[in-house]
Amino acid sequence: MILRDALQRVKGFRYVVEQLELCSPVGRRCLYDSPWMDSKGALEMEFERIRQVCALGEQPASAAVLEGVEVKLMQVRDIRGTVKRTATASVLDDLELFELKHFALLVEDIREMVRMWPWVELPDLKELVGVLDPEGNRLPHFYVYDAYDPELAEIRSMIRQRSQQGDSEEELAGLYEQEMAVENRVREDLSVRLRAWHARLQQALEGIGMVDMILAKAKLTRQWQLVCPTVQEEGDLVLEGLFHPQVQAVLNREGKVFQAVDICLSREAAVITGANMAGKTVLLKSVQLVQYLTQFGFYVPARKAVVPLVERVLTSIGDEQDELNGLSSFAAEMLVMNDIVDAISQHQRVLVLIDELARTTNPQEGRAIVNGMVDFLSSHRVMAMVTTHYGGITAACRKWRVRGVVENRFKGEMTLNNINEFMDYSLEADDREDVPHEAIRIAWMLGIDRELLERVENYLQEEEGNSCLKKTVQ
């Protein structure tokens, strides 16, 4: 998988990528083509580059260099097509020669500015600049200069002279033709000489793209105070002070604060329960985001992060499911479960994230499905996270509960607007079998129709009465 594909799949990840301030189309391409990395070495190298650039940003002197490099990067165009053509036997035209010269000059400028950065590898294009700048004025302009061929200078001065004498265009036609022929000869010759530069130009494009990408990643790291994840082949996923940048941005805009949470996943299913609106889905998405960011070589939104590497992240999150192919939401969900089971059976290293499994069917069978899936995940020692509203999950797993509404956490009455203040989004270990019953309370708070809710409560009391009765009978 490359980053471009991941953007379609994970909205939160796309949000982060969209916030990157890339300077050039070359940098954007480099980023979009980045592979999913599952080698510790490669990732640590990438993180080290980001760390070094962040450190440069701390010092005013080196920060000025960074800014200078950005200014140069902004002038870089994507000349892949032209670079490709330098490998062929075709004759390059003035526009292409201009592009190459413009690019080579920028590469030389940037190379000079970053010569102290050990991780940047840019080829030396000084000689190439010389080829395209025979008059040595180092301006990013181009035409077939007089200096390329003594004959050219001669014909041109003749044209100039005779047109000043008032010769008509027809009279000069012959000279123009000669001039054109010499120009073409020069272009052919230049094209042949440039062929030797193809590999280095290619390398320069990649190098420039990489510089742009790392600078953008580092900038975001500093802006959002992201942290470098400790990557490992095995072990637990440990996240402290985890936050979701997109949700945080929305809350901040409303003058609210995002409560960062801690979570630890081991090779056993973690079942998360909690009231509605307690942030279970956001938590799941945050974990997913951290895994994606880590494996595409980004720092992550947490205070501390230990991230075991996986080959794939398998998710079932309701709002991202494709329900257009004629399947009911339940059927679609079950097929996703099947894919997850398949991948695990093939011994792939995966992270499994499932939001409210089997919520679209009856609670009795739903609970059994959750139990079955959790059982499967735990017995295969898969790192997994499953959220649910069902009580009675008895399969082997580690249980967590989002603390949820805490009375007196905030003054006043709880409303939709201030619910954030009453909620404690942190997790606590939980070995109970029952789940929080706060759905109706939250519905009240949302201002749902009174008549409806009173009817609902009547039914609830009736049910509770029945279950008390049963208990007494027993």
Binding site: D94, H141, R160, Y176
Partner: protein, 336 residues
């Protein structure tokens, strides 16, 4: 003062023809000859495709554009490859047109070039700004007066209108039609605050109340006036039409009790016959624009593609009587 000196007081000038074959290109070449001595301070471009060797409609020979040595010109990739001038590429803009990216180049020797330019108004504005940054004092724009063109020449500070026998062989009629377009070009600009507000609106019909607030009248097009049965003037007598204004609208507004002020983007948006426009004005109506170019001169071409040749002196005199700007026949003028 010579025309060329007046032009160089402005940062941009467009030359527009009232019809095809009214001598627009000759007028441009005339100015270019005048600008030869200070060529490096000038730039040259076009809106849309122009500079074909032969006129696409009438197949009459069309003078090509001769760029003086040292002048900057902007054209599309396609036309750049076809140029017959030695020129140095200064920049390739990322702006795309139907004929490829725009190339900014400086003529190393005098020579001929086919001009093409930005395809919409905002791109033209950006280009004019960029050329100014590059140290160009005045940019000449080979303009087009066509409802097909998305790029309006009215974004240039000044304008020259080319007219001639191709419009009409009847001198009084030719003068009337030229006078009408001159009147439109010279429509007054709205106040600055309102201009900024309306500039961002690209569709619909809007009312502007006394406080300068804009209200969308929810009218998809002025062509649907009668069907709506709504009172267009319920917020007051000031209207802004983002798109084109036709005879129908003028006729409709003319019969209203109130004296209407109609605001349009620029004069190229008025597609009404002179009769309906003047009738509206006579009833006390007023038309204003967001962008106005200063009209510097009108040039005349007494020769029509049909072969008809009018008397240049008589035509010039008749024009001068009716217009308040200098009138010149660029083929005869040696020095203006």
């Amino acid at each position: 003062m010579r025309l060329i000196e007046r032009i160089s007081d402005f940062r941009s000038l467009s030359i527009v023809g009232l019809e095809k074959n009214t001598g627009k290109t000759e007028c441009l070449n005339y100015i270019l000859r005048q600008a030869r001595d200070s060529a490096d301070r000038w730039a040259l471009t076009s809106v849309g495709i122009d500079g074909e060797n032969r006129d696409q409609v009438c197949q009459t020979p069309k003078p090509e554009i001769t760029v003086p040595e040292g002048m900057v010109f902007v054209t599309s990739e396609k036309h750049y490859r076809e140029k017959r001038v030695v020129s140095e590429i200064l920049e390739i803009s990322s702006e795309r047109t139907a004929l490829g990216r725009l190339v900014v180049a400086r003529a190393v020797t005098e020579g001929k070039v086919l001009l093409s330019g930005p395809s919409d108004t905002t791109a033209l504005k950006r280009l004019l700004g960029r050329l100014q940054e590059m140290g160009i004092r005045t940019t000449l724009v080979d303009g087009a007066l066509s409802r097909l063109s998305l790029a309006s020449p009215a974004v240039t500070e000044a304008m020259i209108l080319a007219t001639g026998a191709a419009v009409s062989g009847n001198v009084p009629e030719l003068v009337r039609r030229t006078r009408y377009v001159c009147d439109l070009i010279e429509l007054e600009e709205v106040e600055h605050a309102l201009q900024a507000k309306l500039d961002t609106i690209d569709r619909g019909v809007w009312a502007i109340d006394e406080k300068g607030e804009c209200m969308d009248l929810q009218l998809p097009s002025v062509f649907m006036l009668d069907k709506q049965g709504v009172d267009l003037l319920r917020y007051g007598p000031r209207l802004f039409v983002a798109g084109a204004v036709s005879d129908r609208l003028f006729q409709f507004l003319q019969v209203q009790k109130e004296k209407v002020e109609l605001i349009v983007r620029d004069f190229t948006r008025v597609f009404a016959q002179p009769a309906s426009y003047y009738a509206f004005v006579r009833k006390g109506g007023r038309v204003r624009v967001l962008h106005r170019s200063r009209l510097l001169a009108v040039t005349i071409n007494p020769l029509a593609p049909s072969g008809l040749l009018l008397d240049s002196g008589y035509l010039q005199e008749a024009m001068e009587k009716s217009l308040s700007v200098p009138v010149l026949d660029v083929r005869r003028e040696k020095d203006i």
